[in-house]
């Protein structure tokens, strides 16, 4: 695997680059677009997976289908890209549950009114260099390449004055990115691979994420043509997800009175014990990252991934419908975890907006916040879209009926009967529901949370292709040929 040809943000986490900026461009003339790419390459602006010297700002680039078309990629090549990428995320909003308040007509700019052609992501080690770097990139864009505004700033959250890897609901994030074959260790615990026949974790074939390599199926996954253009590339799913923190905290408060007196519920100490308990049950981890499977009663500061739910198939410790259990069911769907082997995602999300301190209320709260969700995969439909449709927005595989994910799932229909005079409408926003299974060992009874509002709304996004450095050079030179 040639890491110098694969873009750096795919297999590297950029953990030491805490501030980011996303720039969006539209290409009005293909020649201008290719000139822009040429200038970026001449300046060595695009960061590969293997660098000679660690950059101050890691910069990467990706293109939507319309972006590839605008840059003059031949029709025969365009036609060989998968249909979901060709259609783009906006067209597939209904499939993804982006309806009602998440519908594209509610998205932020530039996502709502424009089609982004080129995404440039900049991750900086020091925030002050980021602004200057972005200005330089903008100056490289010739006439005929137009920046779409506004750009999107993001960065690791400051909580109590310290940089953290928490997301806005207060949970440690990015704890279980896949271990990939051929990638140098980046300091992780090495416990996030896929299970082998003996149930031991092993690294995941890189072909699950990068085109041109064997995947879990031991074959080369479908690649658009020409292969020289698409090899070493990956599909990138970008979603701007707004997090409604006050809504989340208010919900926890409304449920805690019932929880505190519920039979068998044992809370750890602390004034917010009931909220933390419920939040953990909804997430599947404690705010400090400890898994409920390993630590069912309280967090222990252990962020490891040495769990697979195999001994918690009824969900007594980690509820069957909890967020992290849905996102990666591990061994809880049986067959030694083999069912989930092809549904992994490399997530490179980063927060935007300021963290809301605990003492902020509706009256004095303000600002918007959320996460720029970025996920790399070798097949958008088999990986991201499968997880979104089957595991986030549906509960069938987890014996949860049509209950969606309590944190990030959509809220279409609340399981109530529909009167014939008021037929069911797909864009109707309703409240969600989640069962917290009981625990026979501790005599805790099952608890049904209902009236769960939508905590996360989609505010933009699209499907991108992140070519290799070779692919970018071919596009810049106008030499993407089909023979």
């Amino acid at each position: 695997m040639d890491l110098s040809d694969i873009q750096g943000n795919i297999l590297r986490g950029y953990r030491s680059f805490p501030d980011a900026c996303f720039l969006f461009f539209r290409v009005d003339r293909s020649g201008a677009g290719r000139e822009f790419l040429k200038r970026l390459l001449e300046k060595d602006s695009i960061t590969p997976g293997q660098w000679r010297e660690k950059p101050e700002v890691a910069t990467n680039i990706a293109f939507t289908f319309e972006g590839l078309r605008a840059l003059g990629v031949p029709v025969a090549s365009l036609a060989s890209f998968p249909p979901e990428f060709q259609e783009g995320m906006k067209s597939r909003a209904a499939l993804l549950g982006d309806t009602g308040e998440c519908a594209p007509n509610q998205w932020d700019e530039p996502w709502q009114g424009s089609t982004v052609h080129i995404l440039v992501t900049c991750y900086a080690r020091v925030r002050e260099t980021l602004i200057g770097h972005c200005s330089e990139l903008r100056r490289l864009a010739p006439e005929g390449v137009h920046e779409l505004v506004p750009h999107q700033e993001a960065g690791l959250l400051f909580v109590d004055g310290k940089r953290t890897r928490k997301e806005h609901f207060g949970f440690d994030d990015g704890l279980s990115n896949p271990d990939v074959e051929g990638v140098p260790d980046d300091g992780g615990l090495g416990d996030t691979g896929n299970p082998d026949e003996q149930g031991n974790l092993r690294k995941i074939p890189v072909g699950e994420f990068i085109l041109g390599y064997p995947s879990e199926g031991q074959e080369l996954s479908a690649m658009p043509v020409p292969h020289m253009f698409t090899r070493n590339g990956a599909y990138l799913v970008v979603r701007k997800l707004e997090q409604h923190v006050l809504r989340f905290r208010d919900f926890l408060r409304t449920q805690t009175a019932a929880l505190r007196s519920f039979p068998g519920v044992k809370l750890s100490g602390g004034p917010r014990a009931a909220e933390d308990f419920l939040a953990a049950k909804m997430f599947g981890r404690w705010p400090d990252g400890s898994s409920l499977d390993l630590y069912p009663t309280a967090g222990a500061g252990d962020k490891s991934n040495n769990f697979n739910y195999a001994n918690d198939l009824e969900g007594a410790r980690c509820p069957l419908g909890a967020h992290v259990r849905r996102a990666n069911p591990r061994a809880s769907l049986g067959f030694g975890g083999n069912i989930v082997r092809r549904r992994r995602l490399i997530r490179r999300g980063i927060a935007y907006g300021d963290y809301l301190p605990q003492d902020v209320t509706e009256a004095n709260g303000g600002g918007r916040r959320g996460i720029m969700f970025l996920a790399f995969n070798g097949s958008i439909s088999q990986q991201f879209e499968f997880v979104q449709q089957q595991w986030m927005n549906s509960g069938d595989d987890f014996r949860q009926g049509d209950d969606a994910d309590p944190i990030a799932g959509n809220r279409i229909g609340d399981g109530k009967m529909v009167e014939p005079s008021q037929p069911f409408r797909r864009d109707q926003n309703c409240a969600g529901r989640m069962v917290i299974p009981g625990d026979q060992r501790t005599a805790r009874e099952p608890f049904l949370c209902s009236g769960i509002p939508r905590f996360v709304t989609t505010k933009g996004g699209d499907y991108f292709f992140a070519p290799s450095l070779t692919g970018i050079r071919l596009m810049a030179a106008g030499k993407v040929y089909i023979l």
């Binding site: 019932a258 109530k416 009967m417 069911f424 797909r426 529901r433 049904l448 209902s450």
Partner: protein, 194 residues
Amino acid sequence: MGNINGKKFGFTALFPIRSKESAVALRPYLRSMDGHPYGSPLSSVDIIHMARFMIIDNLAYQGVPAKRDELKSHYLLFLCDFDGGSLDVLVRKLVSKMGETVDDIWQHCVGYPGRTYRDRLTAYFEDCQLATTFFLADRPNDEVAAILRALMYKRRFTGFVESCQRSRPPDLRAAFLQLWRSLETEPTPPAGSL
């Protein structure tokens, strides 16, 4: 016969589409069916458990070395599980319950005889049918009405649990009996209303 499991019939057919332009017109029409107030116009056909439409545009072959393959036309794939022992049962119901919508869909397909002559339409469906050699059916002996009723019981029971999970046993029993009596007289919900 491979199509039958209990009271259910599993049907899969490939209908060749007249032209690329027809395929282009048909796709958005099929997508627009998602906006139907009861989920789909097919919900009015009260013997259908599940149905799916798909347009097959092309068969791209990827391999080493990669080569393209061409089908003779675009195809409309139609899959349908319904209560009945023969295809004629489905065709009769499609025509009587969906009316013009049957024309709106199948008029784009080669050889479609129209909905006026049911025998010809049944024969057309049979001609386009793919042989089913094994039909795995969930709850093969439960007809649509029975499943709708079971879903209704499940929904009502969930609502009951939601409202009564903190109740003391005497109140719980009284509430459950009230639920049970109401379920006995509640009408079966129409398809697409759940």
